[in-house]
Symmetry: C2
Subunit: 268 residues, 2 copies
């Protein structure tokens, strides 16, 4: 891919997982509200390709999307406990600014970091903790209505339907990835929910790589590894995006140590 | 019902349809951004029960919901062409303010005026105009994902999932009514889409009456009359709310004149 790819929120955890995995594969433009420390920037990204701007700054965002082929939009308040005023501004208004600018600039593919919290309300008292266990058949597949577990989740659901709107309006391909629990090296310890929705760094980078390479219209997919404990289906991500996850939280003991099969795939 | 019912946006078109029909049935508190002319206020509503406030004014909204049993929330920018900044503030932020205040005040029932525009994107070129015709079987039933036709529709979808969240969090009953095309006296003329989603004033008042009387948890229903031309199902509204619409746009000639069976039911 010759045209640049804009990565918003590049200095955050998901951004770093992506850059660790596929930082050398694309001509990235990195945007973040704060300058990103040089150690976290891929070698091939020049200073001219780094934008320090708030995503609610329409002019800065328009400049950043000009000439890019694709956008991976991660920027926003990442806290599940974020207060309304923050998610209203950073996640809802910010996503609208980025999506509109991308659509108007003729961007072909737009990957939006949605969240498991957009559907956290399905984890009802009568379903948990069974839901988090390998022998439970309950699955969310992305066709279900949003059911946010918090106001952060409301903001992510709104981003998804902004994406639906801009796809319908302009034909821009939009994929919303409901990211699970991203942790480095190993799944969360003693946290069944986190193990059920674990997304390894390696699988995260691979999944967004597929979002940049595959052909699709509008999609909502779950971003988790191929965990035995899962209640999110990854069938759609496999079918449409060609997602082929390599990790599984069951390959780690409850103490969080890698078992004999080998180290986590996101380690060198 | 003895406890008051708060009606936001009381001076607007939907508010007036409701008050025309059931203005004498409840102890209303009326809230609007502008003073409502006396002729549009039911006789039994005193000056003390009229609030002039913007719904983004948290303090004013908290005062207005104190002691009410139910809220009918209509206030917002009603224009399908409303720009983002307006729907962000008036429809998204405003609805969050009203819903949160209601949930915190222990309101039992909350009826939210959503819109057909939350799903306007389903009216694709290959489905229309067949969709609007009596012999077409395509139906939306409220289980489908939002597919907004404009940014106003995005804001209405967001209100629905704010309602889902507050219902899950607090147990407040929330019903989202995707209002069709509300016109007085007769359906829109020479406008198939409007005839398909016509909601008469009489059926509108009756539907919101049912929202105040029925028992439910969280619901998304379509607010249209029992039109022969329909692509919104009203089954859920019938089953859960006991909605029993009396009007049908097919009972009017294309010229908009009542046919021999009688005058529109919302006329005296």
């Amino acid at each position: 891919m010759d045209d640049p790819v804009l990565l918003t929120g590049a200095g955050g955890r998901v951004g770093q997982a992506i850059l660790d995995g596929i930082g050398e594969e694309y001509d990235w433009r990195l945007l973040d509200r704060e300058p990103i420390s040089a150690a976290k920037v891929p070698d091939r990204v020049t200073d001219a390709d780094q934008y320090v701007a708030d995503i609610t700054d329409e002019r800065a965002v328009r400049e950043a999307v000009t000439g890019v082929n694709a956008v991976v939009h991660l920027a926003g308040d990442p806290r599940k406990t974020a207060p309304w005023d923050s998610v209203l501004r950073n996640n809802i208004d910010g996503t609208q600014v980025v999506m509109r600018a991308a659509a108007e600039a003729g961007v072909e593919k737009f990957a939006f970091a949605s969240s498991n919290h957009a559907v956290g309300g399905y984890e009802t008292d009568d379903r948990t903790p069974d839901l988090y266990r390998p022998d439970d058949d309950y699955r969310l597949d992305g066709e279900e209505l949003p059911r946010p577990g918090n106001l952060y989740g409301v903001s992510k659901a709104t981003g998804e339907f902004l994406g639906r709107y801009y796809h319908d309006e302009t034909g821009m391909s939009v994929v919303c990835v409901r990211i699970g629990n991203l942790t480095k090296d190993h799944p969360p310890r003693e946290y069944e929910r986190g193990q059920a929705m674990w997304l390894s760094h390696g699988d995260c980078a691979h999944l967004f790589d597929r979002c940049l390479l595959a052909e699709y219209g509008f999609e909502i997919v779950y971003g988790i590894s191929d965990n035995d404990r899962k209640y999110y289906s990854i069938d759609r991500a496999r079918e449409v995006l060609g997602y082929d996850p390599q990790d599984n939280s069951a390959n780690y003991t409850f103490e969080g140590d890698p078992i004999a099969e080998g180290p986590p795939t996101d380690e060198p």
